[in-house]
């Protein structure tokens, strides 16, 4: 395995735990905020380290779909009376 692939997963694990810890410590209760941050970290690591992924990375598609759905839900929530 390329060390970049290994490092990207290790870095993602570190950023996920750090993000969860920081958001938890500031009292953030919304799960979608956490997932949005995980998605951003996943994208940043993917852009910077370009790790190889099997099956054209379906996880990225799932994360982006969840992210888009969450944003859409929040927008509708704000706009609806």
């Amino acid at each position: 395995m390329s060390s970049w692939n290994f490092h990207s997963n290790a870095l993602l694990a570190l950023m996920v735990v750090l993000s969860a810890w920081i958001l938890w410590s500031i009292g953030e209760p919304r799960v979608d905020a956490y997932i949005a941050l995980y998605t951003i970290w996943y994208l940043i690591i993917k852009m910077l380290l370009k790790p190889k992924k099997l099956y054209k990375d379906p996880l990225l598609a799932v994360l982006l779909t969840v992210f888009a759905a969450t944003v859409a839900y929040r927008v509708v929530e704000v706009l609806s009376p």
Binding site: M1, S2, W4, N5, F6, S8, N9, L12, A13, V16, V17, S19, A20, L23, W24, E28, P29, R30, V31, Y34, I35, Y38, Y42, K50, P51, K52, K53, L54, Y55, D57, P58, L59, L63
Partner: protein
């Protein structure tokens, strides 16, 4: 089919157990930050599960053999002063490299008989060798075939960005682990061989520029 190694197995186990823990936490505790942490670990687990296996030792040996062959071809070409761009032609599933002193005439490449070792062509004498870059791939499109062969089958590069315009394929090989020597590179020979094989046409390896572990390969497809 991609095999499951220990690392990927651990990733899948982590992902599934984290999802179960997230559901249990939601049902029993309802503690949202903890649910979010489990979901984060599930993402890490799936990311590990989607990480491809390390290229096997046999493939590394084959890559080194290919490197030696490519280097030998380049040495012979240099010895005989065959400085024209190499042509790759696939006939009956076998790919050949045609080396000549002067640039070849693309219009006449389709009719070349590659069964002989030395050819007399309108642009001078040419030497015909078997290409070491014969790789069978599932894809039928040259760019994805090149990526599949170099990254996933042989594991000699970390990734490939490739574009195909009319009559030309340009591939950038990033973090190439095997480069080659003299005037030819291993990824270049593989890319041209695969393009010729997939398209069923002769191709000309027009240029290769090496910058560190990045190689930009230009292949002209003879229409």
């Amino acid at each position: 089919m991609v095999s499951m190694n220990l690392y990927r197995g651990f990733g899948l186990t982590l992902a599934l157990s984290s999802l179960v823990l997230a559901i249990v936490t939601y049902m029993i505790l309802g503690l949202h930050p903890l649910i979010a942490l489990w979901l984060g670990l599930a993402i890490v687990g799936f990311s590990m599960f989607l990480t491809p296996e390390e290229p096997r030792e046999e493939l590394r040996v084959l890559a080194r053999l290919a490197q030696a062959q490519v280097e030998n071809i380049a040495r012979v070409a240099e010895l005989l002063n065959l400085r024209g761009p190499p042509v790759f032609k696939t006939v009956e599933g076998r790919t050949y490299i045609i080396l000549s002193r002067d640039p070849p005439d693309p219009k006449m490449l389709g009719d070349l008989d590659v069964s002989k070792g030395v050819l007399e062509t309108p642009w001078g004498l040419a030497m015909v060798l078997r290409s070491p870059g014969e790789v069978s791939v599932e894809s039928s499109e040259p760019c994805s075939s090149i990526e599949e062969a170099l990254v996933h089958v042989l594991g000699i590069a970390d990734w490939v960005t490739c574009s195909r315009e009319t009559g030309r394929i340009v591939a950038e090989v990033v973090r190439a682990k095997v480069i080659g020597g003299f005037s030819l590179t291993v990824p270049g020979v593989f890319a041209a061989s695969i393009a010729s094989r997939v398209l069923g046409r002769p191709v000309i390896l027009k240029g290769e520029s090496v910058r560190g572990d990045r190689i930009v390969i230009e292949v002209d497809v003879v229409e």
